[in-house]
Amino acid sequence: MNPHRRPVSIATRAGILVWLWAAAGIALAAPPAAQPAPDAPPADFKTLDQEVQGVKKDVIELNEDLFVLEENLLFPANTQVAVYLSMDVGTFFALDSVTVKIDDKEVANYLYTAREVKALLKGGVQRIYLGNQKVGKHEIVAFFIGKGPHGIDYRRGAALTFDKGIGAKYLELKITDRVPKHQPEFVIKDWE
C-alpha cells in the first residue's frame, strides 16, 4: 500500500458511486445521436481538409504574385529582353547546346539533356535568357551545337540586330527543318 495515499472514507466512496451511476443513467436515457455513415469522413475533418486546401491555394497564388513582382523589379519592362528557344520537327538536327551572345557578351550557355530535347520537340518553349538591355540597337548572335544530318558534328550561328524600345523585347530562336535541302534552319525572330 502506498503510505503517501490519503485514506478515503466510505461515505466519499459511496458519493462517487452514486454520481457515476446517475451520469450513466442520464447517458443511457438520452436519445441516440444520428450515426454518420461508416465511410464518410467526420464533418470536422472535412472542414479542416477544406481549410488546408484553401491555405495551399493562397500560398500558390501568393508565390505567383511574388514571382511576377520579383521579375518586374529585376527586369523592368523598359529594359527587359527575353530570349526563347523553340524547335520544330528536328529530323535533321539533334540539339546539344546553345550559346547566346548580346553585343558580343555571352549571356546564356545551355546544355540540353535528352529529356529537354524531347520536351522541345513536343512543342515546349524554353526561356533561355532574361535580362536587361539599354534602349537602342543591339546585336544578338546564337550558336547552335549538335549533330546534323548523318550524325555529323554541326555548329551553326544566327544573328539579328534588334531595336530595344521602351517596352519589353521578346526574341525567339527557332530551329526548324528545311526539308527540300535536308538541312536544319536556324532563325532568330523578333516578336514586335
Partner: protein, 156 residues
Amino acid sequence: MVLAALFATGAAASSLIGRPAPDFALKGLDGNNLRLSEYRGQVVLINFWARWAGDSRVEMPALDRLDKTYRRAGLVVLGVSVDEDATRAGEFATAMRVSYPILFDTGPRIGRGYFLGTMPTTVLVDRSGIVRYVKVGYKAGDDRAFIDQIRELLRE
C-alpha cells in the same frame, strides 16, 4: 598552413549540408548530357574526382560496387571529373571500367558551387535535392560510411 587550407576547404564543402545541391548539366563520357535536377526523387551520390588525385583511383572501384548494389533501390552514382583535359580524363575513366556515368566539368563554375578543393570529394544528395553528406578525401574502407548514409536516405 597547408593543413589549415585543407581543413578550411573541407569545412566549406560541409557547409553545403542541408542546402539544395547546386544544379549542373554536363557532358558525359558516352556523349550524352546529364542534368542533376533530373534525378530529383532519387538518392544521388556525386563523386568529384581528378586523375592526379591518387585516392580517386582507390575510391572509384568502391563506388562502382555501391552503384551495382544499390542502383535498383534508387541510388544514382555520378562521377564528375574536374580535370581540365577531358580527353585524358576520359581515357582514365575508361581504364577504371566503372559502370556509372562519368561527366566532365572543365570549367570552374560547378567546382566553385560545391566549394571543391581537395580531391576526391563525395556529396550525397537526398530525394528532395538537399545535400545530406559530404566527404572530403578518401581512405580505403570509407565506403562503409557511405553505405550507412545511403541506406538511411533510401529509406526516407
